[in-house]
């Protein structure tokens, strides 16, 4: 029974991929775009109502922000690729992956807030300068982070395959200790020379997590920028900042969903395998997913430069 349920996740994701690749989701995408546009118009209306001081306008504004976040995340986006891909490639626990998804959505809002307020309020720059900074600096760095995560997964998958083939075993081992012990040193360093496998995993996960969150967060949503700039000009900046975070919460509904699906599909795929086969399969999966993420991120990077 448990295996059947796990397996259903894999089938669901595979079916979704096939529908998407064959263009069968075209009508869905069209409908989504109409909904996104409608949300955009409602957002404008909500800001007008807010400016007019209509009762209940603030709650209505936040509700529209939330819906805007959900709708914008429901379409194609880098966040789902990163969270979903990472969730498939690494055996991260579902809770941690969902936490990462939530953290990245909120961090994305924080980046937008930081960008707008640093530029407008502190530096006294114009809207065009904010857009320019987002496009020319922040977004490309985010794309580079995602590409880095992809390459990191490829590298780890490659090393895993080599290890499984039993070549270069000893050297690998040595390198690992060498690399990772360098990263254990921090403010909380307890002089754990020669880390255990657990510690290596933890450091790896922390580093991965950072790359996942930063890669997603450093592509501030244009909608959030619009809202932040507008509310700042209207003198209702705080409502706008809260709105940006509410938008992030809306986005996280979808990315957390992607996280759950990714884990479900991954465990479904692995449930049919013996533990030895899993150990052999995971590096290959890592390599493949890493390649997909790297290719997409390089594409985004080229465009954003």
């Amino acid at each position: 029974m448990r295996r059947a349920v796990s397996f259903a996740g894999l089938v669901l994701v595979a079916l979704g991929m096939v529908l998407w690749l064959t263009g069968a989701l075209g009508p869905f995408a069209e409908g989504l775009q109409i909904a996104q546009r409608a949300a955009q118009e409602r957002l404008a209306g909500a800001i007008r109502a807010l400016r007019g001081g209509e009762p209940g306008a603030l709650v209505a504004f936040w509700a529209v922000c939330f819906g805007y976040g959900v709708l914008h995340a429901a379409g194609p986006g880098h966040g789902k690729l990163v969270i979903g891909g990472y969730g498939v490639a690494r055996r991260v626990p579902v809770g941690r992956l969902a936490g990462l998804a939530l953290a990245s959505s909120l961090a994305q809002a924080a980046v937008a807030v930081g960008l707008v307020y640093a530029a407008l309020a502190v530096l006294g720059l114009t809207r065009t300068a904010v857009e320019g900074a987002a496009e020319r600096w922040v977004t490309p760095i985010g794309h580079a982070m995602i590409a880095g995560l992809g390459l990191w997964l490829i590298w780890r998958g490659w090393r895993g395959i080599q290890r499984a083939e039993g070549r270069g075993d000893a050297r690998d081992h040595h390198d690992h200790h060498h690399q990772d012990s360098g990263h254990v040193h921090g403010p909380t360093c307890t002089h754990a020379h020669g880390p255990t496998m657990d510690e290596v995993e933890r450091v790896g996960s922390f580093r991965d997590g950072l790359a996942v969150v930063a890669g997603i967060a450093l592509r501030p949503c244009a909608g959030a920028l619009f809202v932040l700039v507008l509310t700042w000009q209207l003198g209702i900046g705080l409502a706008g900042v809260a709105g940006a975070f509410v938008m992030g919460l809306g986005t996280s509904v979808v990315t957390v969903g992607a996280a759950l699906l990714a884990v479900w599909a991954r465990e479904g795929a692995l449930s049919g395998l013996s533990s030895g086969a899993v150990a052999r399969a995971m590096p290959a999966v890592q390599l493949g997913v890493g390649a997909v993420i790297a290719v997409a991120a390089v594409g985004l990077l080229i465009q954003s430069l």
Binding site: G26, V229, L234, I302
Partner: protein, 215 residues
Amino acid sequence: MWRMAFLSLCLVAGPALAHPHVFIDTRIEVILNDRNEATGLRVSWTYDDLYSLYIVGDMGLDTDWDGKLTTEEEAKLSGFDMEWIEGFEGDTYPLMAEKPLVLSAPRDWTAAYGEGKITSTHVRDFAAPVPVGDVPLVVQVYDPGYYTAYSIPFDPVVTGGTGCLAQVYVPDMDSASEALQAALAEYTPDVDLEAEFPAVGANFAEEVRVTCAAP
């Protein structure tokens, strides 16, 4: 060859991850001379409510929020979207028999604000007059990066010429995806996919087709 294949894969994957943040309703006016040659295009862009509000608010216009601009304010607004950075093609792509045509930089721009929306217009000239007959002159509107979603809900306008007709064509999403897949399947090293790619992306774009009866 592998570098090319990789690059083209990236270029396909990039836009697939994008979704639009600005929505523009376009009106295309085709200007023809009396020999039924197209000489230029007048392009009109109506921005969505949020982006319009964003621009008007940022420029400090319509401070009383009555949704109307004074003549001076409109003059100030005019040209806000006409400072094109290098490489920006105005998201307007005319084709004749599948060959891209060259357009001039924009001129004679205007901007107006009504019902909470900004509408701007500008004129662009063809590098050389384009004779139009049975084979349609195609004008596609799209943003290759898909940051802006263009649609053509307004009837196109034909100015000048005799017996000319302009119609809007909406893409068939299914055949557009098929075309994309066919283009990828047919990929061979001697095809410059980078140059070919915009045409694939354009399969998803709405377009205006102009034909003229023989004079």
